[in-house]
Amino acid sequence: MSNNEKLQNILATILQIGPDTIRDDLTAEDVDTWDSLNHIALMGALEQEFNVQIDIERVEDSQSVGALKAILTGLGISFADDGNQN
């Protein structure tokens, strides 16, 4: 599974949305299920699945798929392998 697929799977499972709707510009505002409680679950799942630790200050400003990717990229996770989805 590529890192992009991994991230899609995490978002799709937690937010219960279709993988095809997950694009970099998707924000928490756009998704009803992306509330603060699911955001906690999301952070837990990202840390577990990518084996990283996300800083508290990054948790709050990680409210879009692109922002999540940026945080993970900063932690050494690459999303370069499968093209630009924008």
Partner: protein, 615 residues
Amino acid sequence: MTAALDQHERLAVAQRDLKCVAADPSVLNLLTAYRRRDELAEAVGARPVRLAILPSMTFEPLVPALVVRGLHAGMQIDSWIAPFDQISPTLLAADGDLTAFKPDVVLLALRVRDQLPQLYDGIPTDQAAAVFDAADHWLATMQGALQSFTSRHAVPVLLQGLPAPTFIADGPVDAHRSDGQFALCQKLSQGLRAIADEIPSVHVLDIQSLVACHGAQHLFDERMDAFGRLPLHANHYWDYAGFIVRHIRPLVGLAKKVIVVDADNTLWGGIVGDDGPDGIQIGQDYPGNAFQAFQRRLLALRDRGVILCLASKNEPGAVEAVLDNHPDMILRREHFSALAVNWQPKPENLRNMAGTLNLGLDSFVFIDDSEIECELMRTSLPQVTTIQLSKEPAAHAAVLESLDCFDQFALSNEDRHRADLYRAEAERRQLQSQTLDMESFYRSLQMRLVIGVNDEAAVTRAAQMTNRTNQFNMTTVRCSEAQVRELMQTPDVDVVTARLHDRFGDNGLVGLAVVRRDGADAIIEQFLFSCRVLGRTVEKNFLAWIAAHAKNAGATHLIGCYSPTAKNKPFGGFYDEMGFAPSDDSDDVSRWRLSLNEGGLPIDEWTSIEVATGE
């Protein structure tokens, strides 16, 4: 009938899925299982439990873990979460949402970080009096609200205690302060316990035991606490859920009642039938001390009302001799409410025990070191909690320590003596044997018997078998390696060995026979089989192959010999059972005769037989 089988299968699948989640309880796995909760609950026949949660921490992200952990313990948790930090108002509202929810159990997920932050941040001496007053007020409010609620509802309430502070502002000085953080923590803990003493339906959960087990640094997560008031790390949602579920279990009648243990390599090291009562490992030194520790834990469980039973494939006399006479045993015969020492399948023995003790099989825990026995139990009686011990005896006691399914909130005098009561009851009744369809189990094992004839590579193990095997050893002739080799090289004598493979792997050399050709007769001078693999019909197939082999070589009769010893009595009837006719007795050896003219012996279709080395 088909519906029942389907249910059986669905249960096995659901249990396997839940086991997978338990092995890796990640947020994603928990959520995936949580979304299947209704289907899983139906498959495992989970008991519905309505759990009202009154939190002063964010609880919603913990619900998947709690529900899945509940399913694991046989309960279907339907949860309702009160508004954050509204514990007293929620308890006090006579016609509020809590009453409308009709809970079976109420959990107060307490946290005082917001009410009494000084407990965690430090208590300046000039504020100490005010802080302790605030603590008194907090406790009094809690007690008043609980008294109000419990006077209206006969519902048990679980009070999640407060974790001790990990940051101590005054450092070592705090320990000497009567108004420090440690003193405040003690005061709050004692206050909560006093409330529980006052109100019988209130129970305090010692959260500090969970912290002790996992460590505050791992269990807590300041980031999520700061971000969302959820102090737990996602890696420990499962452990926290387990802590809650273990306390709900006894309140809804799901506590287990019976432990059935195996004997060889479980209560002691070694095989008593082969090693003898003096040869088993039990005593002061490793590994004997590890088995003693395991027995001590069992005895402690018995002292709190858990019923101990023994299920062992053995000659009863051998096991009883150890229980009655071995000086290093902790457990004695009188500690067991039922003994099933026989050669019947263990699921059959557990069914009998359940009947005799008049307890449901779903209140049984079965502990054995054998993968085969555990697999048989899981497939035959999935409602029994089956635990397979590792090969490391020193780890066995910890397995019992981690069992939380026997917890009770109160232990009566009767609980303390329940095991004795059941033993008396069991003695009054006769164990009834029940038949069990074993065929599908045998099939599932995919057994493959590999036969060797005069196989030089088998000499060492063959000689070892003649010296070690005491039970299923028809003539008990001990041989050295040289003697085995000599027999292999003797014309008209075949040393036949059997190696057993099954879906779990290679069981090694398990059967040995020495067959001497004398005219038209093929005489089985020695026939040995490892007790580890008895009860799987392999020994019968081994004998059937020998019969077919003798017939192919031109023999008309197969002769079996049996010399009784103190150890091999259980197998005295083997040739009789296999259809041999009594021939003659001399020199303490009985001979049994089978005509090979009428097709020989049947080989069970679930065992395949192949020959590794021909002549």
